[in-house]
Symmetry: C2
Subunit: 470 residues, 2 copies
């Protein structure tokens, strides 16, 4: 019996499509009603989470979709996973819900266990943690640590000057210094103000928001298939690394850290080589800057290793690795004690994370390890990739630049035209599949880690059914 069958004996055998429009009439009505008090314009449909099971999400119209979008890549083990339900019912969880601690001031007697459970599945080389609440929050907490580290190096053991203490209260240098985080074009790192200043995938994410004038380098744009264009893509790596190095040398303010996704997800599932990432590591070391890897979307198994950057074997290990989404909890891992600010209360806030979500993350990690779900994702992803390669030969206008070989189920492809991609995403609902896009012209697959070959077959049949009608 497969892991998925063990978890979900009641999982539907296939999608059920009950309505001819999406959202269906009941969803549409409830979206309108909820819209009076909450912004529902982005709502796809009103989900019935009670009836959702495993890889299938149900809506209030009775539709049951195979879900390969999974709450924007944020459901690790399927809907209503029984192991997580057990965790949710535990006394530990109930206390974390009811007696939420200010974790920095009043950690509980179970805090160490909770944090160590998160460290059991930490990226190689990382042995400490700072906890937050969302991907954007995790990244901004990492920026704070980076800026404090950067200034601390110059300050060494000396205290803050009066001038620093006074100027910071006016948001002026030297207390509020001019420093930057370097990120990449097409990157997505969140939508708060500092994180939005590093995000560069779509204008809608940040129009009208004041921004820090932080630089953007170019992320490699590879030609596909990769094995055919090895030499060209190597040149592209070199070109992009040179841009990064030049920005470090020439940018008007010092760069405390470089921030990058192992695979640019929101921005189009853009991949880069291990050599490119090692090149970045070398450049950050050369310029005395930190390397922050944003694993918010790529982390927790879906690429065939627990953390996507582990595919690259970056040496020395990144300085910080941020996480959220499928981990349900958020924060950053690190290993160098120097990343801890010199005095208490600098990296601090009321809650310092949410133990309820951290407890869930611990269970998610444990289930993944126990059931070897990273290997499952790799196996199923390989199976799926091969099927999609064949479809790509058949429908080259609609399956272009297939990406994610050897990256398990973290697969994407492009359409020649954005409008057709949009139509495709909508049409897939008619064959009972909930699927998401990225960038302006791409489709991204983000199924759970209990997605199996039988689900892949349904997905591929659904894709072919739609594409054959174009």
């Amino acid at each position: 019996m497969s892991v998925c069958e063990k978890y979900f004996p009641q999982e539907p055998k296939q999608p059920e499509v009950k309505t001819s429009s999406f959202p269906g009439p009941k969803s549409a009505e409830e979206i309108k009603s909820l819209g009076k008090v909450f912004d529902t314009r982005p709502a796809y449909f009103i989900a019935d989470y009670e009836k959702s099971n495993g890889n299938y999400i149900a809506d209030v119209d009775g539709n049951v979709f195979l879900d390969v979008y999974a709450q924007i890549a944020s459901i690790p083990l399927g809907y209503n996973n029984p192991a997580l339900i057990e965790t949710a019912k535990s006394d530990k969880m109930i206390r974390a819900i009811v007696d939420r601690p200010a974790l920095g001031n009043f950690p509980g007697k179970d805090s160490q266990e909770i944090i160590e459970d998160l460290l059991k599945i930490a990226p190689k080389g990382q042995n400490q943690i700072w906890s937050g609440l969302s991907g954007a929050d995790a990244n901004e907490l990492a920026f704070k640590a980076a800026f404090m580290w950067y200034q601390g190096q110059k300050r060494q053991a000396s205290a803050f000057t009066n001038e620093e203490n006074e100027s910071v209260m006016k948001n002026e240098a030297p207390g509020s210094p001019e420093l930057a985080i370097l990120s990449f074009q097409r990157a997505f790192h969140g939508r708060l103000f500092a994180s939005a200043s590093t995000t560069c995938s779509k204008p809608v994410h940040k129009l009208d928001l004041p921004a820090f004038k932080w630089p953007k380098a170019e992320f490699p744009s590879y030609k596909y298939p990769l094995d055919k264009y090895e030499a060209e893509n190597k040149k592209e790596d070199e070109r992009c690394l040179k841009i990064v190095d030049d920005i470090y040398t020439n940018w008007s303010v010092p760069i405390a850290a470089l921030l990058i996704e192992p695979i640019q997800s929101e921005g189009g599932d853009n991949h880069a080589s291990a050599e490119f990432f090692q090149g970045l590591r070398d450049i950050t070391l050369k310029h005395g800057s930190l390397l922050i890897i944003d694993e918010v979307q790529t982390g927790v198994g879906a690429t065939g290793s627990f953390w996507a950057h582990e595919h690259f074997n970056i040496t020395p290990a990144p300085d910080m690795v941020t996480f959220s989404k499928k981990f349900q909890s958020a924060g950053y891992y690190f290993h160098d004690p120097k990343i801890v600010p010199n005095i208490a209360y600098r990296q601090f806030n009321t809650w310092c994370g949410d133990p309820a979500r951290m407890i869930l993350a611990g269970s998610i990690g444990q289930e993944i390890v126990k059931n070897d779900l990273v290997a499952n994702a790799a196996k199923v992803g390989g199976y799926l990739y091969e099927k999609l390669e064949k479809l790509a030969d058949k429908y080259p206008k609609y399956i272009k630049d297939l990406r994610g070989k050897n990256r398990a189920t973290f697969i994407a492809w492009s359409f020649e035209e954005g409008a057709t991609r949009n139509k495709f995403l909508a049409d897939m609902k008619t064959v009972g599949i909930n699927i998401g896009g990225c960038a302006e012209d791409s489709v991204r697959l983000r199924p759970t880690l209990v997605f199996e070959e039988k689900h892949a077959d349904i997905l591929v049949a659904g894709i072919e059914k739609i594409l054959s009608g174009y």
Copy 2:
């Protein structure tokens, strides 16, 4: 039987002090051990939440403290409140934990009920909500709405220009405009980058962080007792209002919103009059700017009204009211549909809040209303304030500028010297009381809403015992 007795038949009758140092030996050992993986330098002790009950927090050394700090003002109904435990065990909560939705894209069939429960106790005049994850997050989400509204007014129905779409990707104007949020000296609004740019209470909160160069006005500094210095304090209001008006007129970039706490909490429990707040409202209207009230610490009953700014009867109602802490959930309330950005996906992120915490907030609100706990806080606060007034006569060096008359249990006072204040906070542990400070020289009381006269008696006796030794 009192509400507290009904909730907590097992609540301790008085504190128990088992150790001679704080943290006790067992706490100290566990803080050191946890410190290997997590920054525990700010930890007071290791709490035993299982043994904590009602107004009492237990630690792993067997100490049981009367808690008038309550997780930095974030425990509304006492530790292990049975009504909240019920909520934590409900199927609705378990689903929210296990099947956390991307609430903007895939709201659930219970989302409307969850959000309407939050609206049942919304500030007067507010009937919509946007949900976030922490106080800092709530404020930054409100800033985003304010900036989008501000630019939208100029743009009217026209689309974003190519120049805006292109410049925003470089973090440059006009897509990333130069706009400001006006806040106050001694304010605290959070520690992310934009929120830290509005925070101005202590350098440690923001040293070494790049900041937006946003202005700070002066918050009134009243003379106490208020009834004796009415004329002086009225002049102080006028002086401060003029500063605000001048900043609006002269600041180098447009100010999209004014952000203020009804009582500056972290910054010293600084109060201002209803006239001052109405003056601010008038100035924001005059300059075409929004008014955002930060109720993160003041909200949810502790001042004797559900929301502290309701004491001022500000007309028209504030444009946005942010919340977090004792509500356990976070976000902002608003009422004007124009605060909703013109197109979908501008105010958006993966989770758009946490339904688990929103469900809890709904229960908290319901329990407060059902048990009339705002009135309870007002009654007990009045009783406590009177006792403290008497102590203030006896110990004028140590209880100076007593604040919070008619503000229920939201009470504070100053010491003549910060060092003595620090010693006092530490010494209070020896009489079994966990108590917090604010600013450099003040003590703030932040008990739960089930704090009763018997607890106030223990608190006052503890304070007197310590002060009589000074």
